[in-house]
């Protein structure tokens, strides 16, 4: 091995790959990857539900941001009015639970605006989504400036899986990924699987796909296109709301202006990467955000050998570029993947087209 590692450039690459495998299998990095991927995966589920029924949703970003704010403020309010001891499991308090519920309700509320604009008013759907992003950013920044909360309701805590499970040789890292996380991150895999099964195995799923591919035909056989689209956009809003709650109540415990930082758009790319299927979108989310986790891994357990010296040298000389490189990797991967897959993955045929029922003449 060491002989291979000494080859210039290629050796560094080989060392990096072996380091990656080693870090994923034994570096306790997998729960961090799932955590980073959680809002992306939930946002992508929102996108899947919308676009499978023919509604383009660019406003996931704004929906997440608005719900994140609502979650934070509701939890804070309840926390100050009724302080409670966190429960040993997940650190659950009534404040946090109500915050999550409020976030989901906020997601539904704001997606109602998108549904109304794009389904009933038949405005351009991308413009409608952009409006939601601009309005959510403005409204949350305005309220955040006005109220200036200094306190916090805290966050959900990660589950502590038994050491025996995590240290199982070969597969321990996989158990760790899905158990050593908080409740919202843990729920993601369940939600992804349920949505996947419902979308491809249930009557609702068949109708959704029919409406997204050929709304006129679906209408002819008695499916209410408008009502189904409304319902799917609103359910999608619940997912976006949960993603927002994750950001403030599980990941950070605070709210910052524009804290979504493009996650809603990475979610869209993950959806396209996954060919508009929940499981594929989840894989995309893990891929995109896994790249960001590499930076965390290197900080926690720096690689040895000349790879370690190489990285340490760059970090020494260009600390800011070094950090920004890892922060920016998901954005870069998103562009590359989007450019590489779009031609080959086909969007639902009626995606983005408002439906107008023809009047009987």
């Amino acid at each position: 091995m060491d002989v291979l590692f000494d080859i210039p450039i290629l050796g560094l690459l080989l060392q990096f790959l072996s380091y990656l495998v080693q870090v994923i299998v034994s570096g306790h990095i997998t729960p961090i990857i799932l955590g980073l991927a959680t809002p992306i995966a939930l946002g992508a589920l929102c996108g899947v539900l919308n676009e499978r029924s023919g509604v383009v949703n660019i406003g996931i970003e704004g929906m997440m941001l608005f719900s994140a704010y609502v979650a934070f403020m509701v939890a804070l309010f309840v926390h100050q009015a009724f302080p409670a001891e966190p429960s040993p499991l997940f650190g659950v308090t009534p404040a946090l639970v109500l915050g999550v519920i409020a976030a989901i309700a906020a997601g539904v509320l704001i997606s109602l605006l998108h549904a109304w604009l794009s389904i009933s008013v038949r405005a351009d759907q991308i413009i409608s989504g952009t409006i939601i992003n601009i309005t959510a950013l403005g409204l949350t920044s305005y309220l955040n400036r006005l109220i200036k909360p200094f306190d916090s309701a805290g966050t959900f805590q990660s589950f502590r899986p038994p050491a025996g499970l995590v240290n199982l040789p070969g597969i321990g890292w996989l158990f760790e990924m899905f158990t050593a996380v908080g409740p919202i991150a843990m729920s993601v895999i369940v939600l992804v699987l349920i949505t996947q099964i419902m979308l491809f195995r249930s009557r609702w799923g068949l109708r959704t796909r029919a409406v997204g591919e050929h709304p006129k035909a679906a209408d002819t056989v008695g499916i209410n296109v408008i009502r189904l689209r409304y319902r799917n956009v609103l359910i999608g809003g619940m997912f976006a709301g949960l993603a927002g709650a994750y950001l403030t109540l599980e990941a950070t415990g605070s709210f910052q202006n524009n804290m979504t930082a493009g996650r809603g758009f990475i979610a869209l790319a993950a959806m396209i990467f996954g060919r508009w299927a929940p499981v594929g979108a989840f894989a995309g989310a893990l891929l995109f955000m896994g790249s960001q986790a590499i930076g965390v891994a290197i900080r926690l357990a720096p690689p040895s050998g000349n790879l370690g010296t190489f990285l340490a040298g760059i970090q020494q000389a260009y600390p800011s570029i070094y950090n920004n490189f890892f922060t920016g990797l998901p954005y870069l991967l998103t562009i590359i993947v989007l450019a590489g897959v779009v031609g080959r993955s086909i969007a639902p045929a009626a995606d983005g087209q408002p439906y107008e029922k023809e009047s009987a003449t």
Partner: protein, 373 residues
């Protein structure tokens, strides 16, 4: 002449009513700000106080008017950056990234030519900013044309990437010694200094010239005709022998050039590029373009309106204690009413004029599709 005037009036009536409705909606939030803000009392007149100080801040003095024009200048350019794209059926929400790259390039070139005479230093730095912006627009244009990656996602990703790259470079490579924070060296003679004792600067002229140029380009040249043809119906444009791919790349680069110039104006006015540079002019460009109906004259008017709000907001925050962020909320609500044009027409019982928003429809139509070249 009268008929033409009337058609212009018809064109502007829905934007004007949307602004009115948005101000009404925002007054609810302003009243709420009185309730939960520092004063904690119900003051139904607070919106009037706030809007009055907004007007006074923007129009109440010669200095205010100068500030308004200076605030509107980059908005004209970013408004064109979004609006010209809309004409081609492209939604350029990456003006932010193009602004940052343009401003950064202008600052770097500015430091190089800092000692040159102003009539050399300034145009060279501006041109550099324009070219860098064009590059930032070229990338999503190329990706859209040849891979089908939609510009709405790629431009947002580029916004983040440009911001991270540029701030990294300022921190680690181009940081000027002797300042308490990370910034580039001064641009010297390339700086856009105020004329007389106002804030008005030469950049205003650059922006004002771009308005008639883009009007001429869109309606008086073959390229402009092709841009509009691709925007209203790409398939028909292709059958008519035009090349949609080439038009997409050209238009996105042009949009980027406008935004890059806007960034150059902002940075050269400041005189250096700070590592932490947050600006709203990129996103304000979206509002300006949609409010101005992607028409250069409309964009000029919308930029002045938004510039007035931006210039007047600080006084409003001082006098009425309404946070300046209310401007962002007002923008969003204006856009909601603009999008729901049908509803606005119902509220005011207006006849439908069938105004040309056809190019907007192609934005979503092209989503997730490959461009056939």
């Amino acid at each position: 002449m009268m008929a033409r005037l009337r058609s212009y009036a018809g064109f502007m009536v829905v934007p004007a009513l949307s602004i009115l409705l948005a101000l009404l909606v925002a007054s609810v939030l302003i009243i709420a700000s009185g309730l939960i803000g520092e004063e904690k009392r119900l003051n139904l007149l607070l919106p009037l106080v706030a809007y009055r100080s907004l007007l006074v801040g923007a129009f109440g003095s010669f200095k205010g008017i100068a500030n308004m024009i200076v605030a509107a200048t980059p908005l004209m350019l970013t408004g064109l950056a979004v609006g010209v794209g809309l004409k081609a059926g492209l939604f350029n929400i990456g003006a932010t990234g193009q602004v940052l790259l343009g401003g950064f390039a202008a600052a770097l070139i500015g430091t190089q030519v800092a000692g040159a005479p102003i009539w050399i230093a300034l145009p060279v730095a501006m041109l550099g900013g324009m070219l860098a912006g064009a590059l930032a627009g070229f990338i999503p244009g190329f990706l859209k044309a040849f891979t089908g990656a939609h510009e709405v996602v790629t431009t947002i990703m580029l916004n983040a990437l440009v911001q991270l790259t540029v701030s990294g470079l300022v921190n680690d490579v181009f940081r000027a010694p002797g300042f308490s924070f990370a910034r580039t060296a001064p641009v010297g003679n390339a700086e856009l200094t105020g004329v007389g004792n106002t804030t008005l600067h030469l950049g205003v002229l650059f922006a004002l010239v771009c308005i008639p140029i883009s009007y001429w380009l869109l309606w008086r040249t073959t390229v402009g005709f092709e841009i509009r043809a691709v925007g209203s119906n790409p398939t028909a444009a292709r059958y008519a022998g035009m090349n949609p791919r080439r038009m997409i790349i050209f238009t996105m680069s042009l949009c980027g050039a406008f935004a890059g110039l806007g960034g150059a104006v902002e940075i050269l006015r400041l005189g250096y590029y700070p590592a932490v540079f947050g600006t709203s002019i990129g996103f304000d460009g979206i509002t300006v373009a949609l409010l101005g109906r992607s028409n250069p004259v409309g964009i000029l008017l919308a930029a002045l309106l938004l510039g007035a709000m931006r210039a007047g907001a600080p006084l409003m925050q001082i006098q009425a204690r309404v946070p300046v962020e209310i401007i962002d909320v007002i923008q969003g609500v204006i856009l909601i009413f603009l999008a729901a044009e049908v509803v606005v027409r119902q509220i005011f019982r207006l006849r439908s004029a069938g105004t040309g928003t056809g190019e907007l429809q192609t934005i979503t139509r092209s989503y997730g599709e490959k461009v056939v070249g």
